[in-house]
Amino acid sequence: MKKYLDLFFVFAKVSFFTLGGGLAMLPLVEREVTQKHGWLTREEFLDILGISQSMPGIMILNVATTVGYKILRIRGAVCAALATILAPFVSILTIAWFFAGIKDDPDVIKVFYGIRPAVMALVLIPVISLSRAANIRGPAVFVSVAVTLAIGVLRIHPAYVILAGILAAVMRIFLQRNAP
């Protein structure tokens, strides 16, 4: 029982105290899981991270699920996943209740006029950092631009673009395997 509580507490804590998304939480999770509690080795944690990043969905939740599963099987997975969801769910719901009452206030409207362009800038940052990290050049630039235009300008549903991308990636693997 204590182990369930520990597991729940670790992920609830990490989720509650980190602002700005899953990537910010990773170092904290790693420290808790590999050093403080010693549930997994660093190597095991990196494996989990690898698989969590190549699966769809919320990365940190995938990490929580797999860590929980590795330690305490299915119940551990449920426990860690629920702990990760708890803080964002409760805080957003509280804000939503509160916000519904004030969103028509003229001052609040002005505040959000200021915030919206800042959000655009915020989302632009990962575009640049990912392009650099992945060393995007040549045909890859074409893919990025084509995807941007297809969804942003032609208004094609992102789901189709993602499915097409996965299909292309799978085909590429097959072609590489069968190449002489």
Partner: protein, 172 residues
Amino acid sequence: MIYWSLALSFMKIGLLGFGGGYAMIALIQREVTRFGISGFEFIDILALSQITPGPIGINTATYAGYKAAGTLGACVATFSNVVPTFILMVLFAGLYYSVRKNNAIETAFKSLRPLFIGLIASSIIVMARDIRIWTDHKAMIIFAASFLLLYRFRVDPVLVIILAGTVGLVIY
């Protein structure tokens, strides 16, 4: 029924949301239009999810679900977003040692990176259209200034949002 369509939409987002929270934005942005959430509101949700704890995916699901169908809607959207991937992860958790040495997945993922970048960039284009940024010089200035603060001076995003909100209150 609203709960059913919320569930379907967020399962779709969960299962197709590859490439991290930012890449998922484009998908959520498009899906939430089904529930009467305007482009403006979506950006506001994103802003709120940046200044509250937790991953963007959960924050936006909870908020959009609430907007569409109240507290129960928030529960339905959040759980639908999470459950399909949870099942996948549990299935994979038993298998992942055999997957780990398989670099086909890694190759596939690497070749998808330009796609993820395009997805994120597309969501910025959609936001620019929604707020008609080219008709609003003040917004353009806030955009440029925020970018400079974030990129050049590495100012904390939460601080930038608070700052931009304050500027908005003063100049609009």
